[in-house]
């Protein structure tokens, strides 16, 4: 359906042809385009070096774009950076807190800098800390907090100014699995609590699938796909056949054999000693027959639902778990 511009809902975040080339010529972001609607949870998914954090840096005005435009809550990040920052908050990949100060002091400082009055700040701190499990530790120096407690403090801090847009840059990276799942619940509940727009970056596929309404897959500074998780997965059909063979050359032979037999298309992929083939409704037995004709004997055969990992592998030819060269 076509919309005229006036009929469209306002975008909370708009990114158009945004580009960042570092001194020396490294292109970290190569002209990306996306919009995030109000109340949407939007994920930028990609490995280290894909350009996600640089994009967040440009939206939070700590990285100066070398091309394109971006706006946050209607404010151009280049021309109206202070207004854009007033409308947003960010949780960084690494801990960014004053460790010598108490949690309460950190929260109060942030609230005051975002223009919240002292009285309102105190009330909002009381309102937030309980839900984040910080009540008992709030008056302790942050240096005594665990990694998970510090993360919760940072997320609570980001909400004190009641931002329209919240940026979460790899919010769960480096945390142990238990804390990570706790935080995922917390982040998942943010929208229900406040209806705010969230733009998060991650290289965890399950995180993106669980939290995001839409996902932009970034690879080497470009968005190579942008859609809902369901629609990204739908492109691979209902089932994927996964074959293990005993070596990389054998995997390459297996893939050639499957393609020669007309069983595998361009969306099949060999990576290491594993071959994945979207079935697109065809029986797995046909694939095994084709494999036998190619003279390859698999060591393991499974069929499973496609994952975002499969989507990503087909888009980029690489694994999310394999960091790309740092941009």
């Amino acid at each position: 359906m076509n919309h005229t511009t006036d009929q469209l809902p306002p975008a909370a975040v708009g990114v158009h042809g945004l580009r960042k080339t570092w001194p020396g010529g490294v292109e970290a972001v190569k002209g990306v385009d996306f919009d995030v609607a109000p109340g949407e949870v939007f994920g930028l998914l990609g490995p280290n070096g894909a350009g996600k954090s640089t994009t967040i840096g440009m939206l939070t005005t700590t990285v100066v774009p070398t091309g394109g435009r971006a706006h946050v809550d209607g404010f151009d990040v280049s021309d109206q950076p202070i207004q854009a920052r007033a409308a947003s908050a960010v949780v960084f990949q690494d801990p960014v807190v004053d460790r010598a100060l108490t949690g309460r002091r950190n929260l109060l400082l942030h609230a005051r800098l975002w223009g919240v009055s002292a009285r309102d700040a105190a009330a909002r701190i009381d309102e937030h800390v309980d839900g984040f499990g910080l009540t008992d530790i709030l008056d302790r120096p942050v240096s005594t907090y665990s990694g998970g407690q510090r993360r919760r403090l940072e997320i609570a801090r980001s909400l004190l100014s009641r931002p329209r847009v919240l940026f979460l840059d790899e919010p769960t990276v480096g945390l142990d699995p238990r804390i990570r799942y706790e935080l995922l619940d917390l982040i998942g509940g943010l929208r229900e609590r406040s209806g705010l727009t969230v733009l998060l970056t991650t290289h965890y596929l399950d995180e993106a699938e669980r939290l995001c309404d839409r996902i932009g897959v970034m690879h080497e500074g470009e968005i190579v796909a942008l859609d809902t998780p369901a629609d990204l997965l739908a492109g691979l059909g209902i089932d994927v056949l996964e074959l293990r063979v005993d070596s990389s050359p054998a995997a390459a032979r297996a893939l050639s054999g499957l393609r020669a037999g007309g069983f595998a298309g361009d969306d099949a992929l060999a990576l290491g000693s594993t071959v994945t083939v979207p079935l697109h409704g065809r029986p797995a037995a046909d694939a095994l027959d084709a494999l036998g004709r190619a003279g390859v004997t698999p060591t393991a055969v499974t069929t499973r639902r496609p994952t975002l990992d499969d989507v990503y592998l087909r888009l980029t030819g690489g694994s999310l778990a394999t960091p790309a060269a740092a941009a």
Binding site: T5, D6, L8, P9, P10, A11, G14, H16, D33, F34, A37, G57, T60, T61, T62, V63, V64, H71, D73, G74, Q80, I82, Q83, R85, A86, A87, S88, A89, V90, P95, V96, V97, D98, R99, A100, L101, R105, N106, L109, H110, R112, L113, W114, G115, R157, R164, E222, I223, V224, A225, L226, D227, G235, L236, D267, V311, R314, L315, T316, G317
Partner: protein, 292 residues
């Protein structure tokens, strides 16, 4: 290699809201400065070494070395040497204290909340100003401690309103200049260790040439010329003019004029110029370091 499952989407799905529709503002300049200064003060109060270390050397110098030197005979014509040397230690205290505050800048950057502060809806130069306000307050406090301690040890100052005006003006401007150096150098240094390694060269070396313990005319001619361009030389001459020597011998050594008020004004102008330039440099270096 690549099979695009879903079309890359440069499709505009929404239009930006008009900024006028969302009135949002930060805390105001003064409010933000007060908040940032309160933060820096709280952090400094939790690391007392930042206050004690810069204070200890000048105070010991004023209380131990100055009287000892006085007792064995150095003299400056017409001036009590004990008082002369005690004031000279202010030229050590102000640079040391201001430069030590650069440690906090590096800690902020490497493991503190600086990036959150950079995301705040305030002009970023306020981050520098907030730190500076605290450095200035502590320097003022320490200078007061130094002067009182030296009086208790036997120094004698001639305190007048106009004299205090020169002293406060010169001290303030030197502190501004030295904090500018601290901020600029700290933002260029990769670690606290490298920064503290640079401190003696920045804070102590100029003190040897600035007429701290003897008039600059006692130096070889070449070094006297160097001394005359150091802001510290002008500051010490102004401190002594304000508290010790209304004849302005130190100012005369620099300018060679007869009108002491004019010479004092010129010296204050020199220190002000350094303060202005170094502050501009520090804000620029900070901004370049913080925003890439």
């Amino acid at each position: 290699m690549t099979t695009v499952v879903s079309t890359p989407t440069p499709v505009v799905t929404a239009r930006p809201v008009r900024p006028e529709a969302v009135p949002r503002s930060g805390p105001g300049l003064l409010g933000a400065l007060r908040t940032l200064a309160a933060r820096r003060f709280a952090l400094t109060a939790r690391t007392p070494r930042e206050i004690l270390v810069p204070l200890s050397t000048p105070v010991l110098f004023a209380l131990v070395i100055a009287p000892a030197l006085d007792s064995i005979g150095p003299s400056v014509p017409g001036i009590d040497y004990m008082s002369y040397a005690a004031l000279g230690t202010a030229g050590l205290l102000i640079p040391l204290n201001c430069l030590f505050s650069g440690v906090g800048v590096i800690v902020d950057r490497d493991s503190g909340a600086r990036r959150d502060l950079l995301a705040a809806p305030i002009p970023r130069s306020l981050l520098v100003a907030g730190n500076f306000v605290v450095a200035l307050a502590i320097t003022g406090l320490q200078l007061g401690v130094l002067l009182v301690a030296s009086v208790l040890r036997g120094a004698e100052y001639d305190v007048t309103v106009s004299g205090l005006g020169w002293v406060v003006g010169a001290s303030l401007l030197l502190a501004v200049a030295m904090y500018g150096v601290a901020e600029a150098v700290a933002n260029r240094m990769p670690s606290v260790e490298e920064f503290t390694g640079a401190l003696p060269g920045l804070a102590i070396v100029p003190w040897f040439f600035a007429g701290s313990l003897f008039p600059i005319t006692a130096l070889p001619a070449g070094l006297t010329a160097v001394a005359k361009v150091l802001p510290l030389t002008h500051t010490l001459a102004l401190l002594r003019y304000g508290l010790l020597d209304d004849g302005g011998a130190g100012l005369h050594d620099i300018w060679g004029m007869t009108n002491t008020t004019a010479m004092a004004t010129l010296s204050l102008g020199v220190v002000a110029l350094f303060a202005l330039v170094l502050t501009a440099v520090s804000v620029r270096v900070f901004t370049r370091s913080a925003v890439s």
